[in-house]
Amino acid sequence: MRQLRSHRMLGRGAVLGVALIALGACSKKADETTIQSSGNVAPAAFQVADVQLGKGIGADKRVANTTDTFAPTDTIYASVHTTGTAQNATVAAHWTYQDGQTVNDQTETISPTADAYTEFHISKPSGWPAGKYTLHVMVNGQEVQTKDFTVNK
């Protein structure tokens, strides 16, 4: 009888042991799956991260002095920060005045392999009319961001 009981206990212990080993195997498999999926990263989608306006631009195409208020004689710079990769993506700047008039249109075709900065600048020798302006940033023909700015007298 005692022998039978000890056999039963041995049997329960074996079942428990097998279950624990199986659990360990499962968690190990889950870890492996995670590593596999993180090692197989898809290329980052190309998108606009940020748009900045200012009165100057650096060699790295980033705006030096960010502002949204300009004087009539200022050259207005816009820097579009993009992330991700693309082949022949078009980044366009469509500048408009408060009455809806188009001030200027510019397009750059780029094939970034990492973060990139694309700058656009406009100037007007006879001076900007005072008022409110909007920069519309387009990627592959789709408007992705707008920035309002003002020209004061």
Partner: protein, 85 residues
Amino acid sequence: MADPSDKPVADFSDVQSGSSSTAPGTPAAKPQSYTVKSGDSLSKIAKHVYGDADKWHAIFEANRDKIKNPDLIHPGQVLDLPPNT
């Protein structure tokens, strides 16, 4: 009472523009030129076009056939603008 339609329309016909990118694949051979205006200097043009006045040398070198003295450019002169490097 003044007619609102009499309000002068803003004229943007003389707007000058430029663009460039840190990303590869930008067509580098985009021919660009600049017409010198009264009061311009090579460094002023370099600042306007490239955002860096020190790049006046590049404009001067690209236009050696038109500019004898870098301190002397004339309104109406059409200068070749080399790609920004």
